[in-house]
Structures are given as C-alpha cells and as structure tokens.
Symmetry: C2
Subunit: 173 residues, 2 copies
Amino acid sequence: MTVSKTAAADPARGARPARKEPAETAAETTPLQMGELSELLGYSLKRAQLKIFEDFLRCVAPLQLTPAQFSVLLLLDQNPGRNQTEIANTLGILRPNFVAMLDGLESRDLCVRMRSTNDRRSHILMLTDKGRAVLSRAKKLVAAKHEARLNELLGSANRAALLEMLATIAREF
Amino acid sequence: MTVSKTAAADPARGARPARKEPAETAAETTPLQMGELSELLGYSLKRAQLKIFEDFLRCVAPLQLTPAQFSVLLLLDQNPGRNQTEIANTLGILRPNFVAMLDGLESRDLCVRMRSTNDRRSHILMLTDKGRAVLSRAKKLVAAKHEARLNELLGSANRAALLEMLATIAREF
DNA sequence: TGATAATTGTTATCCACCATACCAAATAGC
DNA sequence: GCTATTTGGTATGGTGGATAACAATTATCA
C-alpha cells in the first residue's frame, strides 16, 4: 500500500487574492493524487491494455488490421480446417458476433468459408493466399515496431515474466 | 485480439427427459494451437484484464460497484474539492460520458455535485458519508478477496513487479 | 427406423462504452 | 466591452459483447 502520498498543500485555499502564476493555456491545477488507484491491478491492467492496443493499431495501420482480426488470422493459420465455432470459442468470441467479423475478413479476401463435406452444417475456415500474405506482413510489423518496443522498455527477461504472469492470471482466475 | 467472457454453456435448460449428464455437451475436438498468440502481449493483457474485472465484480457484488465506479469513489476520496473535468480527465473518461456515470452515483447518494462559489460553471465533487462508508467496505472486500488472491497466486514480489511493469507501459507507450 | 435432442451458422436485438459535435452559462484575456 | 475559452450537459453514432430464436443438419436412442 506504500503509495507516494506527497502531501500537496492546496496552494489556493486561504489566499484568495489573485495569485495566478504564468498559466500556459489550460487552467493549470495541481495534479490529482492517484493514491490507492495505482495499487489496483485491474486499473493498471486496463490502462496498459489500452495503450498496447493503440500502439498495435498504429504499427499495423498500413494493413488495416485490428487486434481481434489479427488474432483470427493467426489462429486460422495455425489451425487450418477448423470451423467457426471452434475458432470463435478459442478466442472467446461468441458465435453470433463472429459472423460479422468473418464477413469482413472474407469480403477482403483474407479468408474463406467452405462447407464441410462430412458435416454440412459447419463452415471450414481457411486463409487465402492474400490472407497469408497479409498475416506475414502484419507479423513483421508487430515484431519490428510493436514487440520490439516492449523489449526495449522492459527487457527481454521482464517481458517474458510479464507474459507468464498474465497467462497465469488468465488461466487461474 | 478478442476476449469476451461468456462461455458458460448452460448445462440443462429446455430438456425435461434428457439424460445427458456425464457427457460434456460440446462435441469434443482436439484443442487448437494458440501458437504465436500466447506471445502477443495485447492478447494476454486483454484476457487477464477481463478475468480480473470479472473477479472484481464478484468480490464487490454485494456493494453493486463496477471497477469504474470504484475508481471514481477512490479518486474522490483522495481528491476532495475537484470538479468533474479534473476527475474525468484523470481517469481517462470523457466528460460527456462522465455525466451519466455521476448521475448514477449521485442518485445512489454516494457523492454530490456542488456548485463552486468562485467558479459557478464547475461542479465540486464530494463523497457523501454513505459514499465513504461504501468505499470503505469496498476496499476491504477488494483487499480481502480480490488482491489477496493475487498475492496467493503470484507472490507479493511478483505482484509488485507486475504492477510496476504495467505502470511503465501505461506511462511510456 | 423414427422421434427427439443437440449442434452450426445466422439474424435480430439489447446494452455498455467510447467518441464527436454542439450548446448555454460562466469566466478569462485583452 | 468584446471575444475566446472553459464547464457541464445533451444528442448521437459507432463498436463490442450478450441473449433469444430459427432453419438446416446431425446425433441419440427407444
């Protein structure tokens, strides 16, 4: 619980008479105390996740891929011949919501739905050549710009430790 | 990436004479290869964040507080006398979206908006007695059930290291 | 074999968040 | 005094997640 509680004395309290220091543009106020907020794992997790997603989007912007779409392409590449339900479940996407997502990828010719021969209910999903090419380029961008920055910031060992802890949380909680 | 929490396949609902107990309802298939997905920080971050939020909601369920609401109460407690813009900005909430959120908290008598005397545009936010009481109880629940589980799972040192890395990412990225 | 249950992809909704544009009242700057 | 800025607020649109329901198909089993 040791959070820096720098006792910031409120500068404007009793001293009312104008004492407006050189304020730049925005009304300058004393920064707020985050307090116990910085000890809340959920809060830190969410803020970090938002930053990471933003950076991911920037890095892979030329390919117009969202993190979710990228994860689908990755999974299709490593698991050819699976159907929608299997892919969606693995990624934690609900089947109804996966439909529009696939429509988007398929309309961009990144993957295709094929009716299965042995079970005519299901759609076998496969990457197209273009899908594989886009995925390949995306991987390079992510590795070079996105993940590289992490290693630079945390160090390889810490980055690995971070991933491991996150995986533990996702698995055990 | 993805992430959603649902999943919970309802075990028995519409079937009256159904005798399908031991068999898992879903057709069993070989588990999919996560592959490089498990190396993607964004993916692991999001999945962990969802789990943490779920657990937070469960732990603090008797108080009916969301993570976002809890963070607002925490911030108000440590920063009395601030206005909506300051609180919202600090939490990364856009002012328009903060209005309804405050309406909710105020209607539950957890905080109040007071017109500032020196700037009649702004609303000074303050916790009510009830707000402080709820916050206090929430803190205890979170510490006892939620964060305690983390320490048990990761260990105190690792938990601290995790928080530090997340803060670094949120700050530097 | 035939009736019934379960699964698959899909549509239609609903809700929670997030983001932008815009507005009136109040204040700050000049 | 006139203009620009700030503040809280409304309206609105977009995106994701969640549930119910459905037709076609397959599995189950009496």
